[in-house]
Amino acid sequence: MLQGKRTPLYDWHVAHAATMTDFAGWDMPVWYPTGAVAEHRTVITNAGLFDTSHMCAVAISGPGAFDLLQLCVTKDLNACVGTVKRPLQPGDGVFGAYLNDKGELIDDTILYMIAEGMYLSVVNAGHGTEIAQHLTAHVGDKDVQVEEVSSKVGKIDLQGPLSAKILEKLLQEPLKVLDNMQYFGFKGYFEDRPRPDDVRLRDGTPIMLSRTGFTGEFGFEILVSRDRLLPVWEMILPAGQDLGLITCGLAARDSLRAGGLLPLSHQDMGPWPFINNPWTFVLPFDDEDKSFTKKFIGDVVLAERDQAEHTYAFVGYDPRKVSGKGLSVVIDSGGNEIGVVLTCVSDMAIGLSGDRIYSIGSPDKPKDFKPAGLSCGFVRVKTPLVLGQEVELRDSRRTIRVRIVDDVRPDRTARRPMKDML
């Protein structure tokens, strides 16, 4: 077997008895001895720490950076922040996608505006070079430099409602840093670079602290210089110990994000028209959802709206799963095969009580609520379905009944005001 790529935390994971798995060519922890269920639940009740240093980053800088990104990223950077849709400013991150000229996904990204003429695009494992090449191919006569910086950056995700309390112990001037930090806002940079809102850990390590994540829960992505990754990881863990912080692997990340309605790039969205899915908020629709507010690569996708397939979230009635990644079919009430299953996992922090889904994080959950877990994920189908509609998912082993929904795990914490989390 070929040895996968290793993050700077690989030896730490192995020394702490993580079960390792291949993910996009990387040897990554899938769970630690605590197990994926406990890891998933701990992120909802306390906090979890994830090594996400397999992800890639591309720096885009120069006077032409804005124009290049406005051409290549789906979001309208002049109107993308908050409900008022203000322009992207330094200190803002935004979730967007790169499409090809057919309107199919190349990768999704969180794009950060570091400073005027300076951006950082965080993309998925194994896709940094591809995105850097895609951007470079569209530079034209613009004065802009595109550089993949994946080998310089390490990333740790600290996720869960107690994340800010953990950071309070670790940051220089914690309240100044955290105060009023908005969802998708960030401060600092992963190396000593000119940003007015320098963020440092107590030992002086500069970090880029972003109020984002891939769990649906409150938390942060922490970007640091790759050579500082291990000391930062080993600094965060003891600081979080009394608050119940544990390390989490990719299995918990996958189940948390699915219950949080977040797509896995190249599984839930991929080489098919990026339209008619739960994430079209990354497209620059006008107020009437009829046309786009800018021209960009892939904007032809709007014309695909009537004939393109549809992607929906679903939830089951117990934790039983079928295979994802296109290996299971979707069957309607008439017995017709109408599509495929993209993701199917179990969110083990939720369960049914009557016909309502509760989470262990639900403030009004029934007394003695014990989450049995529910299967959930995404399907891609030829014909439109309506919310609440039941379909069957079938693989070679079993058939499960699920219903189409617009949300899965209730009472998620990702968007809670910072003042409630300190």
Binding site: M20, W31, G35, P319, G373
Partner: protein, 134 residues
């Protein structure tokens, strides 16, 4: 990677190639999955069990165990009739991880042919097989 020296494999059980264990209790046989199996599967989230009164031949599927990682079929280590199923693991499937030979048992069988037990592996033979698959 699993350290086979850390596996708990009781001496009084017999083991099947598909990682079920069987324990002779008088004229009945109790069945579950091995410590190796539960470690390989990761956290168990659901167990599908047969109905009391069902009968299966040796090697036939009697249920399935679902984990965060995968779904695995369960096969009869010995043919017979299902006398009892462990209701507790329907409510608390984590018992299979926590106590695979005790509270995490799965079915109690009235064997058709008790001598089928002799076709199953001893602890040493099972450990040898597991070591080879590593």
């Amino acid at each position: 990677m699993i350290d086979t020296s850390q596996l708990i494999l009781p001496d009084d059980l017999r083991y099947a190639e598909d990682h079920e264990w069987a324990r002779l209790e008088g004229d009945k046989v109790r069945v579950g999955i091995s410590d190796f199996a539960q470690q390989q599967l990761g956290d168990i989230t659901f167990v599908e069990l047969p109905n009391v009164g069902d009968s299966f031949g040796k090697g036939q599927q009697f249920g399935a165990v679902e984990s965060t990682k995968a779904v695995s079929d369960l096969f009869m280590p010995i043919g017979g009739e299902i006398l009892e199923v462990n209701q507790a693991i329907r409510e608390s499937p984590e018992l299979v991880n926590q106590d695979p030979y005790g509270d995490g048992w799965m079915i109690l069988v009235k064997p058709t042919r008790a001598d089928e037990m002799n076709q199953l592996m001893t602890k040493d033979a099972y450990l040898d097989m597991v070591g080879r698959t590593e």
